[in-house]
Amino acid sequence: MGAHMPRQLEDHLLTRRSYIEGIVRGYRNSLLTSQAYSNLTQCETIDDVKLQLGPAYGDFLAALPPNPSTSALANKLTEKLVSEFRYLQANATGSLAKFMEYLTYGYMIDNVALLITGTLHERDTRELLERCHPLGWFETMPVLCVATNIEELYNSVLIETPLAPYFKGSLSHQDLDELNIEIVRNTLYKNYLEDFHNWVNTNPDVRGTPTAEVMSEVLEFEADRRSINITLNSFGTELSKADRKKLYPNFGRLHPEGTLMLSRADDVEGVRIAVEGVSDYKTFFDQTGLNQGGGSAVGNMSGGAGGEGKSLEDMFYQKECEISKLAFTRQFTHAVVYAWVKLREQEIRNITWIAECIAQNQKERIGNYISVF
């Protein structure tokens, strides 16, 4: 808050922000603890899971039929996240409102990518609207369904969505047609991450605050994670190294040397060497045993050797959760909202995983969830 602001107003704003922060911290406290998770893993049926989730999710699960499918369960859990997010968003003002908008852009990218896929294959995109992630919903999204060809869609995306800057300059409407949708999605995501990073570090309200500090760390981690994942996942596909390089965000702890080396990597070993400069990632690679050349162990929960063989993606999720957890140690920062959303998403994934394990009777891998509290 600038010194030029009247004292009263500053207090008022602080109260406003404290209110939201308080709410978020309250939400954080309702996240499931290790104890709750271990209770969940003891369940025999989905109904038991539902019962265990009662205190945390209460009303949202009430409408579920007995023994619901795991996807129905996940939908309800997401619903709660969305409704809480909406409540925060409604109360947010100033830079926090903008911050929260930024949070939704990531989901918007997924939604737009979905609509592009639908339009490309000449499906009725209206049916796709309900498949879209509710956090990535924007008012003008139904307008995109009017478009029947990719050029119209491109134009309406440019006009109607906040994503326009991410399209402009890096993608043309021919690109949408010709490039693989995954490349489009990752290009957008890269632009989004860069923009977000730029915003937290330059916005006068945010710059220099704990928000900028925490969010820089989070976003840098996210950028590195994407770079590493893209590299690992592109082995054996038609994605060329030059195209791959374009998908790496231009910041992060790996940038620029690490990303340069990543862009040249041919195999898992190459990736390992590229990330060696950052001790965290090096540890991940060492722990997953990738340096022994086991290329198959990249995916999450691979190996089937139970809980000990954590995969790289597990490590990333774990790290993300830890960063998010640490964010709550800071005061007066927007980053708690981000951290809460991420933790909540992980929680939904965890519950879905546990429910899936129970439903499919595969209890031996049930412990693969990630819990930080």
Partner: protein
């Protein structure tokens, strides 16, 4: 009639008897062959049943793993939209099936053979940002699952066809065993009895004829005897006057004409 069973309506002749005998022989050979075929097919079907059992158990396991790997994908990607994207980006079948025929004891069984077309990787980039590895692994798991399904389909088809064929063969075996062979045997018996009958009739007739002949011959003898007697008596009357003649005809062959050279 000989035998109460049914018989073919034929004329009881020796020629037909020959035909019937060869028919019986043919039927017996056919019966043996079919019986053996039926046994071979039964063996084959029990083998197939065993393999179906195995394949079904395997399918159970594989499908479970596959469903679980899908759960892994959902966990890694954190949403269901990936499924839609994969559905849409699959343009060409990568996993294909061709059929060929197998010959089991003269029965043609279609066998399905699965193969993957190389270099067809429609959604290789799916999950590039996160979860790509899982998607690929899930695909491999499902490919294996579908392979098992194809194997099972092939076995099931073979089972159904073999079952049908076995039924037909068994029906034929039974038909030959219980209908054709008894019928032919009956016919042969019938023909034999008819032929015997004819023989007996013939014999009787011949006997009759010979009796008659004998009787005729006896009558003729008697007549001749009578004639002789008559001749003798007339000779005795003429003994005196014909003593000389008798002396003269010492050889007693007065009936015989003198041979005049």
């Amino acid at each position: 009639m000989s035998g109460a069973g049914a018989r073919e309506s034929v004329f009881p002749t020796r020629q037909v008897l020959g035909q019937m005998k060869s028919k019986l022989k043919g039927a017996q050979t056919g019966h043996d062959l079919l019986k053996r075929k039926s046994e071979a097919l039964t063996n084959a079907i029990s083998e197939i049943t065993r393999r179906i059992d195995e394949a079904k158990r395997k399918m159970g396991r594989v499908m479970q793993i596959a469903a679980f790997s899908l759960a892994e994908v959902t966990y890694a990607v954190g949403g269901g939209n990936i499924l839609y994207q994969i559905q849409e980006s699959a343009k060409q079948a990568r996993f294909r099936v061709r059929t060929k025929q197998e010959n089991v004891s003269g029965v043609f069984l279609p066998a399905f053979e699965s193969f993957t077309t190389e270099g067809n990787n429609d959604f290789g980039l799916t999950g590039l940002g996160k979860g790509g590895q899982q998607v690929q692994r899930c695909r491999e798991t499902y490919a294996r699952a579908v392979e098992t399904l194809v194997e099972l389909a092939s076995l099931q088809t073979a089972f159904v066809i073999l079952d049908e064929v076995i039924k037909v063969v068994n029906r034929r075996v039974n038909a030959i065993e219980h209908v054709i062979i008894p019928k032919t045997e009956n016919t042969i018996k019938y023909i034999n009895s008819e032929l015997d009958e004819l023989d007996r009739e013939e014999f009787y007739r011949l006997k009759k004829v010979s009796n008659k002949k004998e009787r005729d011959a006896a009558a003729a003898d008697i007549e001749r005897e009578a004639q002789k007697k008559k001749d003798d008596s007339s000779n005795e009357e003429d003994v005196d006057e014909e003593g000389r003649m008798q002396m003269k005809d010492l050889l007693g062959d007065q009936d015989n004409e003198d041979v005049i050279f």
